[in-house]
Symmetry: C2
């Protein structure tokens, strides 16, 4: 059954992920050939700095002309692990135009312009696979696109960024502040020199857009995702969470509205109960809950980043793309038929935990409770604390639209008796 | 793009799973059509007792002639949710011969005769999908067959039977004995009237055979799986586990040998540390760890049984099978090229926890230690307990071949100073 002409793969990018892909393609060539049904070989590896190519990578394959490599007519599959918008988009487009299928790990590009890429793939009868774009080797894209293709997904909730989970885990376990925990993450290689994409939630938001899109069969772009990073999470927030029997995690949450007619996608820090399985996700690990009508609640857990785990996801997609090339078949294309509107954050229904620094005198609680009532936000619990002339109110609300909760907080800030809003955090996973 | 002639599906079996499949195919017809690219309709539902067909199932579709339904030339996909070996095998074979693809939840048949089914599917160019055969809606078959197709899986370790997990969870939380916990499981519907398949480990062993086969690209049959049920687990075993900071779980374990040249598959009760994520899998939930070279350690968690979750898995496969029918494509077939030998249990390397009831006199520990040394089994820890003329030795070994551990226990039983071997249990997950 084995075909003798090998399938040809162009590898764009040879950094941490690309060099692992090249290494495994070489060391596991026989296994890959057996699983695909034909041998597979690297046609070339495009890099920016040829002097920096890693050990084990055949120097004869290296080129700095990515455009020429991506546009070769004899290439069956192009693997894009450069990242970023350009030149990745132009290279992928050229690959489709020249008859190749594409495997990419590029979450930023998919979240910004996935629809165009899918349309181009469709037009040329090619596959566009991207398991590696979300949570590395943890299978999420394929389960959502295929395993749950006969079910109705209502919610995807997870930790999809390892850097921020490492930082929050350190803050939780050591009582460190954000800056100190970030320094540790940087020193250990969990945070990049410029950590903006991670700590401001851009990386998680791109993944949320991708997951929401496939879960709800609806186009969701990065701009549709409400995004709050964790730079403003304080040691006091973590301590407040602990007193509530909770911990703080940066969550990506994609939800179908109760009436089923719209969806939301958001990334923000939130308190979750210690009893929730996501609370015990430590260090840089990722974990994602998927709730579906028939399947119930599923959880997927594993390393969410790193060269080898990301390469594993890329190679799984590569095997699928090669098999399809060999058999003249195609994997599932974009499924966006549901076209559900993406609602703004204000319409998300959630709960708040609010710590207020208040004047230590009678009637403050009544004033505060009135503000909540005026905005239609029902209070679950209030705890009063005070000593030495300082007084605190810790309020946990029932579920209410985020807009009403936000307006409540704004009104509280204007009360003379409220000296400050020390902490506001959403409560999830209950 | 939508084709007007609908794809036709024959449903064999309309029990807990089949009736859910029929219900969802009716209520979610539009979604399924959009995801497949063509409408899909039920051509017929084969049942044994037509009088017992459930609410929401169209009586006009019901037939007692399963053979005629499975052999209809106009049927595109046959869904088999009858279970057992016959008539399921004959019906599936007939379906392939008449040009249909097959989606099955039949773990027993796959574990006994999967190779023949795969060969028949291959011969007729049809798909054989079976995600629902292992852990219901938890995606395991597709991730192992496809997501990890470019990786090397070294170990699959998990809780794949909900009934036994429920029983062990109750024994652990309430101190109940096996019989009492089984009664509770039966009363709550977690155990069947005849619980043999579950409590003797046959169900888990069939799943282990299926998982080992796809993980290691090697044919593994039920007979290749070492199987011990949990009927001999006592309240004392659970208490011993607790003293070690462990709990007892019925585990399915599929491993590649350290030298990579053989594999093993086994199902037995084992102690695992409370810190291991599988320790916190409660009630009838399932969870499976997969360890692969590049991906690292992944975990999949969810409800492992039940009508709706199993139907979710069936429908995911049904969508894939229908898409392939529509596009003239095929999903991945059997991958058994590695042909690794399956080693017997004696060659499995593991650890033992052994409680010995011994004579309360000097020299016993030295005698016992000598027996271990003679069999080449290294002792990790020994704890001596004794009061009122009773004495106990609790020995935990280092890793050693199971055959050596078994021979050690046999020799211990023959010692005059050993009154009895109160408990022997393997220790995993460390």
């Amino acid at each position: 059954m084995m075909r003798t002409r090998p399938l040809k793969v162009a590898l764009l990018g040879c950094g941490v992920v690309g060099s692992e892909v090249a290494r495994i393609m070489t060391t596991h060539a026989d296994d890959l050939a057996a699983r695909i049904g034909a041998p597979v070989e690297l046609a070339g590896i495009a890099v920016r700095r040829p002097g920096r190519v890693r050990e084990g990578v055949d120097p004869a394959l290296v080129t700095t002309d990515a455009a020429a490599l991506a546009g070769r007519d004899d290439v069956d599959v192009v693997v894009e692990v450069i990242g970023g918008i350009e030149p990745a988009r132009a290279l992928i487009t050229s690959a489709f135009e020249h008859g190749a299928s594409v495997v990419t790990a590029n979450k930023a590009l998919l979240a910004q312009d996935g629809a165009t890429l899918h349309e181009t793939a469709e037009k040329h009868g090619a596959d566009l696979f991207f398991e590696a774009a979300v949570a590395a080797a943890i299978p999420l894209v394929r389960p959502l696109r295929e395993s749950l293709a006969g079910d109705k997904v209502n919610r995807v909730l997870g930790i999809v960024n390892g850097t921020t989970n490492f930082i929050l885990d350190r803050m939780d376990s050591s009582g460190a502040g954000y800056a100190e925990a970030l320094d540790e993450a940087t020193a250990l290689g969990y945070a990049e020199a410029d950590p903006t994409a991670d700590v401001e939630g851009f990386d998680a938001a791109a993944k949320a857009a991708i997951l929401a899109g496939i879960a709800f069969h609806t186009r969701v772009r990065l701009d549709d995702v409400h995004r709050e990073g964790l730079t403003e999470v304080t040691a006091a927030d973590i301590a407040s969470a602990k007193r509530m029997g909770c911990t703080v995690k940066l969550l990506a949450i994609c939800e179908r509205a109760a009436d089923g007619r719209s969806v939301t996608a958001r990334v923000h820090p939130a308190m979750i109960p210690l009893s929730h399985p996501l609370a015990s996700v430590r260090e840089a690990y990722n974990a994602v809950f998927v709730e579906a009508d028939a399947a119930g609640q599923l959880m997927f857990y594993g390393p969410g980043a790193g060269g080898a785990p990301t390469a594993s996801a890329v190679l799984g997609d590569l095997v699928a793309a090669c098999r399809n090339k060999l058999n003249g078949a195609r994997g599932p294309g974009e499924s966006a038929y549901a076209r559900l509107p993406v609602s703004p954050m204000g319409e998300v229904v959630t709960r708040y935990h609010i710590s207020l620094d208040v004047a230590d005198k009678p009637g403050v609680l009544a004033q505060v409770a009135t503000i909540f009532a005026e905005h239609g936000v029902s209070i679950d619990t209030v705890r009063q604390q005070g000593k030495d002339g300082e007084a605190w109110l810790v309020v946990v609300t029932h579920r209410a639209p985020d807009a009403a909760l936000g307006a409540t907080v704004e009104a509280l800030r204007r009360l003379d008796t409220v000296r400050g809003v020390a902490s506001i955090m959403r409560v999830e996973g209950e």
